[in-house]
Structures are given as structure tokens and as C-alpha cells.
Symmetry: C2
Subunit: 783 residues, 2 copies
């Protein structure tokens, strides 16, 4: 029976270790089978966008080519881990074309066993291993999907624990102590896993195309699906994912564990350690020889392998469930130790199977056989966990007790368990449509997160997009300075340091300095024979007048150096007299001591995003506006336009909402409009002078509309400055006409161009500038 070790608890209190106790590292791995629009297993290849299956640390395939595995790095908090998994789900979902992630651990409608595609790994060892598994277990069984919950205690905590009486008195070496801690927790988890299976199981129903033998045993729920009356998790049942016959491996110590596993492999009962489908594994750093490394390095973390995909939640698990599992693991640490012989293991297996077949109401098998029921024991566990929380976690007490209360309710009322809810929901529709609807709903939610990297929303949008693209193709990232959007991207041996998405090693320092300095940019462009608006600055009328002969046949603009509202500006179109010229300067000098003369180029401004030898996207920005429909008022049209999920506030979205503010009202008034006016159908009403996105402007993609002649000019300008990544701003008179000597003009070259505006424009398609940066940094993504 569970029972807290109060001596240990006292040590923790005495050494002020309760805060450290709850620290740890969390990781999730999960599989989802891909299905087509109709919910049938997708037999298409793993999307190429995810790169090489063996290299991508985040997105891989599992047994089947149709089974995507998503792996989070380990994080210091459940929150981060949860959100990274959500981001992975978003990234994967976005890439699936007409396919969806099946949200259940139980496979969807399956073809014949041999038609299920085994993952093609292009690696003889991996391919051979999968072929052997297919033979041994059948392909259908391998399609059962689930979640692995990985956990390690905080290293500093364990070291401090070792310093207390609990540790160094009994263990000579820290490593020995640490192994003992993890094996203890593993033993307890194995013993009490029935409770976690009860509380997390969420796959009570399965499709009738599943393994015949299992389908035959079950009862039909609807014409196409089957269940066993009390079963909450097919995956954890005898029809689930377990070794052919029970294997008993000692969890008493590292030595015994490694010894027993080695024996089983030698006896060819296991193909490799990987085939040891224990519900709980002790794991070490990844390597070629897992057992050797385990001995050498010691246990690094625990892997809980029996958690179902929960279709009630987008990523298959809720944050609360993750927190409960964490509390339960801590409880397993602080519980008194109990022996765990082969007999105990068999009892644990028995309890496991009984939970599956009879639910929580059955009796608990134990040496004492004191007639305790599972329900009663479960409630004792909850009680002791409550005590543990009260003693050690005063700060988070309320939140934790709330979680425990909810789990207690599930124990007392089995209709509240996940499995019961899922089954009841299925009964209201069908196994297929229930899960397919969920799949499509979650896919939609992911699409709405397109421009956002969940868990990294504090970063600039451009960086969020770049990191998502990196994760997608398996490039690892590390935050170097989060506030500065400074990251390290790693693929194999290659490290790339990137700040704000576009500040990379691809551009040299001097190139950036050229772009940063507008005077120098102009000189460099000129030097490379590229036309920039000619211009001069004058401090006196006399000086200005001496230049008349140079400009008399040109279109020019004469303007004060600083000007507002266009005051003091004169534009001449080729024909003007010396007197006109003088007057224009006289006017301009009334507004500023310095007057500028520049060649005048009419037209609209376009942003060319140049990357490498390519114009990746071209954008034109339009001031905040609405288009009338003859029915709604301007105010209504604004509110409606603001509903676009791409529009938000505070630069967290690709577009900003149009404000209903004073500036807009003033602008309307100046143009004889008001909020209540109803514009005619098709009439465009502007609400701002400037075209900034930050004041609700629209970004409109023109990449396909603008002739190559302009694109080539933009590339030339970038090359003149030596730039690999830059934003070239150009005035173009008329995009219907090819570039000539005088119908365009460069405004400036920018060295840190935003990329999200080209990926999520108001109008136009995603130009994938994020992917292009990665192509330039790491080479194109070819599988």
C-alpha cells in the first residue's frame, strides 16, 4: 500500500529542497497516424518538407511511413514542453496537404496488413528492424500510437539530495545514488501504473479493420467500430502494443537491469533493447549502444510509455494531465520503497490487465491480498499526494490540490474519465466521424497559428517563422538571447548564428554598414552604375542657382530638408524657367536652412525582398482602408475588416487592426467623410495618409505582377552593396511597363527586412522567405 516516507520529507524540509524537488526536465514524444480527408490511413510518403527522417530531431516517422512522430526537446517546465508540442503539431498540420493527424491512439480505418506502408528509412539496419517488427507483431498493431512522457529530476536537486542523509550515507558515489533514485521511481511507477492508465486512457473504441482476433473479441459500438465494455485503452490491453510474451527484467539495480536485458537479447527473445516494450524505461543519453551507455553514464531520465493520445485535446494530452503525471512521479519518489520481485512484477501486470478489462472498480492484487480495491487504493494515493503537496509545496498548493481533486472525481465517478467521455461522444456520432471531426478542427486551429510559433510568441514574427521553418526541416535551434531574437541554428556540424531572422553570416559587416548609411549606399550604387535619384543639398540660394544648367531639362523636386504636409515643395516636370527655379528655391528656403534638390520619379513604392540571387517577394503597402459595399457604414466596414485573424494589436500579428481613433476621424473629416457614412459598393475609403502596416495598412503581394526587369535591378542593387539578404525599396512609375532609364528609382536598401510581411500578406500568397533563408544558410531541403 502506498505510504509516504516521512523521513525523506523531513530531510527535504530541513534542507530547504522542496522547491528544487519540483524542478525537472520534461519532454514529450508522440505519434499520430496521417489520414486522408475521409479518415482512411494515408498511404502517401512522409512529406519531404520534413527533411531526412533520420536527421530531423523534431519530426520523424515511427514504424509506418504514415505515422508521424513528434519529439520535443526537454524543457525546464511543463508549460514550455506542452507549447513546443503544440507548435510541432501546428508545423506538421500546416504541411499536410489534404491529410490530417488522427487524434486517437487507436488506428483509423486500415487497409489489409500488407498494404500498410512501412517507413522507408534508406538505412538497412532501420529498414530491417521494421520488417522484423512487421513479421512479429503485424503492421496493424504497430500503428497504435501514443505519448511518451520523459522526465528527469533537476540535477542540482539530486546532488543536494545526495548531500543529505538520504544520499551520501548509503551511496559512495553520486552516480550510484542517482541510478538508485530513478530505479526506485521506475519500480513504483510500474507497480502503480494501473492508476495512471485509468486516469489517462482515452482509446476505448477501435475500428473494425483492426486485428481480426481483437475485433472478434469485442462488441460492436457502431457498424464500423468495436469496444470492450470496461476497456479504456486498447493500446494498453492485450490487443495492444506489448511484447509477445511477458518479459521480466529486474528493476532492482542498474546491474540487474542491464544483465537481464542482455540475456534476453542473447536469447533472441528481443531484437534489440528498443523492442523491450516496458511501460516505463530508464534511459540515458542517446548513443549507439544504449545498455553500455546506461552503465557508463547512468540513468538520465525516465520514459513513461503508456500514455494514450487523448482526442479531447489538440496535442493529445492536456497540461493538467502532464502536471498530474509529474506530481505522481514525485509521489513515487517520496513513497516508501517496496520490493519488486518477479512476483511483484506479475502482480503489477495483473493489475494492469484487470484495470483494462474491469475498470477501477475491481480488486487490487497484492501479496497481502487484503481485499483492497483499486478504487480505495487510488483514493489513498490521492490522499497521500494531497499530504505531500501540503507538506512540500505551499506556494503551488492550491493549484496542485485542484488537479488532485479533479482526478479524485474521475476515480469516484468513472463516467468522468477521459475514456468514458470519449466513448460517450463516439456514441453520439461514430468512431470515424468523431475522430475525423476532431482532426479537422485541430488542423484548422493549427492553420490559424500559421504565422505564430506557439511558446515563442514573445519573439518577433520574422524569427517565429524562421524557427518554425527550421524545426520543420529538422534544424535544431537554441535561444542565445531571447530578448534580442538571437538564435543558434544547428544542422549536423554546421552552426549558424542568426539575429532577428535576417541578420546572418551571409552578409559581411561592411555590407551592413553600407546599407545602414544612406549616403554611402547612394555612392556605392552610383559607383556600380546604378541609377539613384540625383540630388544635392544647398545652404544658399546663390549656390542653388548655379546648378540651373545641370537640371534645366530634368524632372525635379525642390524641397526643404525637413518638411511636413508637403509644405515648401515644388515639383517641375522638365520645362521650367530660371525664374521658376529661383522661386521654388526661395519658397523652400522659407521652411528650412537646407534645401534639397532631387530628381523626381513618379510612381508607387515597392519593397523587393532580395535573398541570394533571387527576388523572393515584392510588396506594396496601402494606407489603412475599407472598401464600401453600399450597405455598411465606414465604422462597420472597419470592424469587419479587423476580424481577419491576421490583424491584431501590438505587432503580434502580420497585420494591425485599423484604429477607430482621432487620427482616422480627422483624416475622414478632411476628406469629407465620417464614421457613419455608407460608401458605395467598390468605393475605397482611406483612413490614413501613410501606408505603414503599423497603422492598419494593407500589404499586397506583387511578386508575380512586376516585370523581371525591375527584379533584376533590385538584385543588381543588392549585389552592388554585397548584400545577400536585403529589402530594396524602389519607386516604380508603372508596373505594366518594363524598366527603362527613367521610370524607376531606388529609395534605399534595408539590411534587416521583415520577412513575415511576405509570408502573410493581406493579399497574395506565402512567399516562404523563411524557407529561403534556411536554403541559403544550410542548402536546400532535399531528402
Amino acid at each position: 500500500m502506498p505510504s509516504l516516507n516521512h523521513k525523506w520529507i523531513q530531510q527535504l524540509i530541513d534542507h530547504k529542497l522542496s522547491k528544487e524537488l519540483m524542478k525537472g526536465q520534461f519532454g514529450l514524444e508522440k505519434e499520430n497516424v496521417r489520414v486522408d480527408r475521409d479518415g482512411r490511413l494515408a498511404i502517401t510518403p512522409h512529406p519531404k518538407a520534413f527533411g531526412n527522417k533520420l536527421d530531423n530531431p523534431y519530426i520523424q516517422t515511427d514504424f509506418s511511413e504514415s505515422q508521424i512522430e513528434m519529439i520535443t526537446p526537454s524543457f525546464d517546465s511543463i508549460d514550455e514542453t506542452y507549447r513546443f508540442m503544440e507548435a510541432l503539431q501546428d508545423i506538421v498540420s500546416m504541411e499536410l496537404d489534404g491529410e490530417f493527424l488522427w487524434p486517437s491512439s487507436n488506428p483509423p480505418q486500415l487497409p489489409e496488413d500488407h498494404e500498410i506502408p512501412i517507413a522507408q528509412m534508406n538505412d538497412p539496419i532501420e529498414d530491417n528492424y521494421r520488417a522484423e517488427l512487421a513479421d512479429k507483431y503485424g503492421r496493424k498493431r504497430q500503428l497504435l500510437s501514443g505519448i511518451h512522457y520523459n522526465f528527469s529530476f533537476d540535477e542540482r536537486f539530486l546532488r543536494q539530495l545526495y548531500e543529505t542523509d538520504i544520499g551520501h550515507k548509503e551511496y559512495k558515489e553520486y552516480k550510484e545514488f542517482k541510478n538508485a533514485i530513478y530505479f526506485k521511481v521506475a519500480r513504483n511507477l510500474l507497480r502503480y501504473r494501473w492508476l495512471l492508465i485509468y486516469l489517462t486512457g482515452a482509446s476505448p473504441v477501435f475500428d473494425k479493420t483492426y486485428i481480426e482476433r481483437c475485433v472478434a473479441k469485442g462488441e460492436p459500438l457502431d457498424p464500423n467500430s468495436v469496444h470492450f465494455p470496461n476497456m479504456n485503452s486498447l493500446r494498453n490491453s492485450e490487443c495492444g502494443y506489448r511484447n509477445e510474451k511477458p518479459l521480466y527484467v529486474s528493476y532492482n539495480s542498474m546491474d540487474e537491469y542491464v544483465h537481464d536485458l542482455t540475456e534476453l537479447i542473447h536469447a533472441q527473445q528481443l531484437l534489440s533493447v528498443k523492442e523491450f516494450y516496458s511501460p516505463v524505461r530508464v534511459k540515458t543519453v542517446k548513443g549507439e549502444h544504449p545498455l553500455q551507455e546506461l552503465v557508463h553514464v547512468g540513468v538520465a531520465y525516465l520514459e513513461l510509455r503508456f500514455i494514450d493520445l487523448n482526442p479531447l485535446f489538440k496535442i493529445g494530452i492536456s497540461k493538467e494531465t502532464m502536471q498530474f503525471i509529474h506530481l505522481f512521479i514525485v509521489f513515487m519518489l517520496l513513497k516508501k520503497d517496496e520490493p519488486f520481485s518477479v512476483e511483484d512484477q506479475k502482480l503489477a501486470d495483473l493489475n494492469h490487465d484487470q484495470l483494462i478489462m474491469e475498470g477501477i472498480k475491481g480488486c487490487l492484487h497484492d501479496h497481502d491480498d487484503d481485499g483492497a480495491t483499486m478504487e480505495k487504493t487510488a483514493l489513498i494515493c490521492i490522499e497521500e499526494m494531497q499530504e505531500m503537496v501540503s507538506l512540500l509545496m505551499p506556494m503551488e498548493k492550491e493549484a496542485y490540490l485542484h488537479i488532485l481533486d479533479k482526478e479524485k472525481e474521475k476515480i469516484l465517478h468513472s463516467e468522468l474519465s477521459f475514456a468514458a467521455i470519449v466513448k460517450s461522444d463516439i456514441q453520439e456520432s461514430s468512431f470515424l466521424s468523431y475522430h475525423l471531426d476532431k482532426a479537422k478542427q485541430y488542423a484548422k486551429e493549427s492553420a490559424q497559428n500559421g504565422y505564430r510559433f506557439v511558446g515563442y510568441e514573445d519573439l518577433e514574427l520574422s524569427t517565429q517563422l524562421l524557427l518554425k521553418a527550421a524545426v520543420k526541416r529538422g534544424i535544431r535551434f537554441k535561444m542565445l538571447d531571447r530578448d534580442e531574437n538571437f538564435v543558434l541554428l544547428t544542422k549536423g556540424d554546421r552552426n549558424e548564428y542568426v539575429k532577428q531572422a535576417t541578420k546572418t553570416s551571409l552578409d559581411s559587416y561592411s555590407t551592413v554598414l553600407i546599407m545602414e548609411n544612406k549616403i554611402v549606399t547612394k555612392k556605392v550604387l552610383q559607383q556600380h552604375g546604378i541609377r539613384v535619384p540625383k540630388g544635392e543639398a544647398f545652404q544658399s540660394l546663390e549656390e542653388a542657382m548655379s546648378t540651373y544648367p545641370s537640371y534645366l531639362d530634368k524632372s525635379i523636386v525642390i524641397k526643404p530638408k525637413s518638411t511636413n504636409f508637403g509644405l515648401g515643395i515644388t515639383i517641375f516636370n522638365r520645362e521650367f524657367s530660371k525664374e521658376d527655379y529661383q522661386k521654388a528655391f526661395q519658397i523652400a528656403f522659407e521652411y528650412d536652412r537646407t534645401v534639397l534638390l532631387e530628381e523626381f520619379i513618379a510612381g508607387k513604392e515597392y519593397r523587393f525582398l532580395v535573398m541570394g540571387d533571387e527576388v523572393v517577394g515584392i510588396l506594396h503597402r496601402v494606407p489603412a482602408n475599407v472598401v464600401g459595399d453600399g450597405v455598411h457604414t465606414i465604422e462597420e466596414l472597419v470592424r469587419d475588416k479587423n476580424k481577419d485573424p491576421l490583424r491584431g494589436r501590438g505587432y503580434k500579428t502580420p497585420l494591425e487592426q485599423i484604429q477607430l481613433g482621432e487620427a482616422e476621424e480627422m483624416f475622414l473629416k478632411n476628406h469629407s467623410n465620417s464614421w457613419r457614412d455608407i460608401p458605395q459598393s467598390g468605393e475605397i475609403i482611406y483612413l490614413r495618409e501613410n501606408s505603414n502596416i503599423s497603422t492598419g495598412g494593407d500589404s499586397i503581394d506583387f511578386t508575380d505582377e512586376i516585370p523581371d526587369s525591375y527584379k533584376n535591378l533590385a538584385i543588381q542593387a543588392a549585389k552592388a552593396a554585397g548584400a545577400t539578404i536585403c529589402g530594396v525599396d524602389m519607386m516604380i512609375d508603372n508596373i505594366e511597363v518594363e524598366a527603362t532609364e527613367s521610370n524607376y528609382s531606388f529609395i534605399e536598401i534595408n539590411f534587416n527586412p521583415a520577412i513575415h510581411i511576405h509570408c502573410y500578406p493581406y493579399k497574395g500568397s506565402n512567399r516562404k522567405a523563411d524557407e529561403k533563408i534556411l536554403d541559403l544558410l544550410f542548402g536546400t531541403n532535399t531528402d
Copy 2:
């Protein structure tokens, strides 16, 4: 007789062109023969530091290998041109090892003709040309050196002049008009050159090793030198640098000029256009076929070829002389036109020769033969120039009239002429020692300008050094943004943009961003296995205390995040109890909400300048100090130390003067000293706590003292950040001991390291960091 063209002057006044009239572009070319310490012609090769003789646009050889030619670019002002020539002289002088620039147009003591080394150009055409010249004129004559004064009117001025009645009425095309203007000035200059030769001639005496025939004609001045009684310029005499027999080429028009020269070449009277030793040449852009280009492009500038090197001035000419020549050229433009037939040319030659042999007092040969003397005509010229100044240059009138007055004095009193002064000075010593003393004096002045690029003193010292090094090896430079120290360096096809000397294309943007961010730098170094001081920041005592086990066996420093005067800092050396640890944090938390814990590394801080794969220099900075001599007071010692020309004020010198200020006085007082104390011999008295150069600290070179193990670490650190050029700051416990695991520590990596401190340290040698940057940008400088 000279006579101003008042019609033209009125046009200039009417069109407000008087300001533009004085604009123009100025260039100087000059030769100096190299001599050894004893004033004998140096027969060593042209220094390799100046790169390929044919490629270097600034520093070349002329006829002889011993004859250095220095060429300024053209500038908009006399001042810039003058100063650039001074800089060239500084650069060349600094590179000459035990040799000096002979400051006279007349050669020094010469060996036999055949022993004079002809310049080796590694170019068959160039080599052959020089061999032919040697045969035709003798090598000694070719060693006569001088100054070419290049001038062009402002292009905009000429265009505006063309728009007036002076121009477009008579000439259909602007180019035609422009050519006519330059030919007019050239004709007048040739006619009146006798006056300029009188006012600029400065080579009245020559060595008796000069051409025998000439020596025989002269009178001995001292045992080793010779003169002709009234001769002021040997170079302009019949013993000077002129064609074998007089050649008459028409200056009436471009067509006639080109025609006549072509004829002379066809008739083999000239080897090439280059051999046409006319005192005034019309020139165009440089090219393969000068005459063709002259016709095609038109005249670009005038070259006055008859100016002597003036030993009275460091660079061989004074700014006043340059200004007078400019005024004279403008006068030649505004003077009435006169015919210039072959007869006129002969008369001009006659006047030229007569000036040389008889001085200014002789009669002037003219068609009219009205008995005018040269003196009288010269005075008329000055008078008319005064009138010209008064009419057209009201702003600069006083300065110009002053210059004209001084020249007038020379006309009236021939003993005030340069030649007379030089001869008189020579008579007080000797031809040899007078010029050699001057040579050595000017070399010393150049050495004192070592760290300074004359004319560019507004730039940072590092940039001044880099540009001087560039000029030395013939890399052209262009200021892109002077305020920002942003330059373009060009060699052949290669362009390199450099800001502040060390911001170049050699470093990638991401590398700079890494260095700029101290947190990221530390992470990157750690990632590459490089030791940085471990450290943590704490916001609470509890948090801090939990780290005790990690540090209990380390040397650490616990300090408030911000601290002054070392308050709140505790340093532990390995052995400390948990109580000590806690107390240290408690103290630190009294001063700041954030407390830092860092590994403690004792020692001194050194700056490693890493460039490429090399540590170029290592510097240690010492606070402002003086060393006692048992005689002088601290104040006297400071004043004495401040006399070092490397010490100045306001960062215009490599070191700053030690202030006799309050801070220093307070520091002395705190250390029981005062300004009037007399320190013992060898006693070091510090005047500041900090070691900043800006407060008078000393920079001490340790490049040769510090073991390679530390240098390798610095290089490793630079490589980790990906840096090509950086300053690595390292704490070293004891430089007598090789680097171990724990006796050094990195402080930071800086991306814009000053280079001048390694070139001009207080103690130690010039580490030529400027040269190293150029090596990295353009490859090493091998001839």
C-alpha cells in the same frame, strides 16, 4: 604686354561667376632622389613596401631606381593637395631605412653615369624607353627632379562660362570651347613662364659630379659645387631637362597641337609624346594613346612642368607658391589673347634662357622690342593681378594681395628670391651639408607625423594609419563618409569597404552581433569548449544559497551587480564555509537587488589583437604614472613625461597627456603624496586608479613576452566567434607561466579594436596592425 580682358571680367561679374572662377582641381607630382646618410645617391632598390612600381598610383619611380616619384590625386583645394603631398612625403620618408629624400632639384653627389641605376620596371616597353632616354640624354640629366603642378578649372564653371557671351557665340560645342580655353592659358603660360621660373626657381648650385660640360661652364662655389652667377634653376637651364634641340609645336588649337606632335614622332624626333619636354602640357585622362584620347575626350587639365623642388620647404613647395601659381593661371585666362607663332615661341624660349642666365634685370624680348625690361613687365603683371583680385575676389582679396605683395618684393629685390636665399644659405655651409641637413630635418618631421595622416587628422587614428598604409602600397582610397571614417579601398578590380579601420568584409554580420552581445559571446565560447569565468546572477539569498555545493571548492567573487569602489565584494579562495558563503551574499545584497557570483581569476588584463590566424599585438595598460629619479618632483616628472610627442589632448595622438587635475591630486593625496614630493629613483608613482589611455595611462607592448599558449587561446576564442579581426581581453595570472586550466580567463571579445595603440605604444615596437589589415583584405604586399 599683359593686359586684362575687361570684357571677360564683366561677363564673369554679370553672371556671378567670380566664385566659380577660383574653383578648380589641383594635383602635384614630384620627384626626389634618394640619398644615403652621407648625401650620396642611394643605389639601393626602390623599397618593396611601395608595392609594384607600375601599380602604385601614389608612389612610383621615375627615370632612375633611386628617384621616387610622389603623385597626389587631384583635389578641390590647394590645401588638400598640399597636405596630401606632405603625407606622401611622410609615408615615403618613414619607409626609408638610413636614406633620405634629397630636397633639391639638382642631383646630389653622383657616381659615374653608368653606375646610376635605371628603374627596373619589369615591363619591356618601360625598360626600353628608359634605356633610350639614358642613351639620348645621359643618366645624370635624368636625375634632375622637380614638381609638376596640375590644374583644371571647375567643370561647372567652364560650362557656365560657355553659356555666357564668351562661349556659345563663338564655339558650337562645349568641348571645343573648353579646349580653346586651355590652349589659351597654355600659350600665355609659355609666353610668361620666365616670370614663374624666376619666382619658383630654387636650384642655383649643383654638385661637381654633375655633367662635365656643365660643370666646366660654371664657377666653383665650394670645393664640391658649382654655379652660374645669375642662374636660379639648373633644371630650367640649357644644362637642364629639355629636348636635345628646340621643338616647336603649335598651341593654337587642338588640331594643330596633335598634328605637330604626331609629325615629330613620325620623324623620330621624339620617342613618344612623353618625351616632349614642354614646360606646359595639355593633358587628358590617362590612357594607352594620349594623343588619340586628347582629341577624343578633350583637354582635362594643364601640367606646369618647370617648378623646382624648393629645399626651403619640406615638400619642395610652399602653399603660398601654389596659391600664386593658381592666381597666375587665372590671370593667364583673363589676359587678352596674343598670337603665338613659332616666332613667339622662340621669343618665349629666349626670354626663358635669358632669365636663367641674367636674372630678372634683363630686357624682355618681344616683337615690339619696345625696350621693356623683365622687371618692369613682371611688375605690370603683378599690378594687373592685383586689379583682377580686386575686381573678382572681394572675399579673399586681402590674402591674395598679401601673396602678390610678397612676390613683388622678390621682383624688386632679387636677393629675396628663393634661389638667392638658397645660394646664400649654401654659401654659409656647403651644397652637400645644406641639403643633407634639410633632408634629415624633414625626415625627422615626417617621423614625428608617424601616427598621423596629414590632411586627414579629423579621422580616427586607426583610420589614419590604415589609409597611410594603403597609400604606401598603392591601394587607392576614397572617403565615403568622412565623419564615420567610412572609406573605399581599391586595388585593381578589388573594392573593399572599411569603416573605422577594422569594420570590414572580413567579418560576417553574425560574428559582429555575437561579439556585441556579452551574454551570447560567453555562450558561444562555452559551446566551443573555451573557458569563461563561470557566473550566475541571483535575485534572492535563498536562490544563491542553493548553489553552494557547486562552488565550494572554487575561487569565487561575490559582488553586487553594480558596484563602486569595490563595496560589497567578497573574494573567496577555495576554502570557505556555507556560513561564509551566506554572509558574503548578505553583504552583497545590501548594495544591489541582483548579486553576481563569478569564478575569480587573479592577474592582469591584456588586450590581444587577433587578425586572421595571428595575434598581431598584445598590450597591457597601466594607469597614469611617473617614475622617480630622486631629483624631480612628481609635477616636474609629469610635465616631462607629457613632452613625449605621442602624448596629446583629445585623442589626436596615440597617448594622452597626464592631467595635473583634481582627480590626480586626490589620488596622490589618498596615497599620501603631493605634487611637490620627490620620488626616489625608480619609484613608480601612480596618478590614477584606472588604466585608461584616455586619462594618461601607458600602453605597454607584451607581444613578445607572452607565451604562445595564451596566444593560441586568444585565436581559438576569435575563431569560436568566427571573428577575423577582434580584440580579445584576457586576465592572465602570471605571464611567466604557460596557460593552464585555471590561470587565465576571458573577459570579452571586441569587434572594433583600436589598432593605433599597437602601432604606437608607450613602450614597445610598432606591430603594424594597419599593414596586417591590408594583407588580409588584399593579400600580402609582395612586389
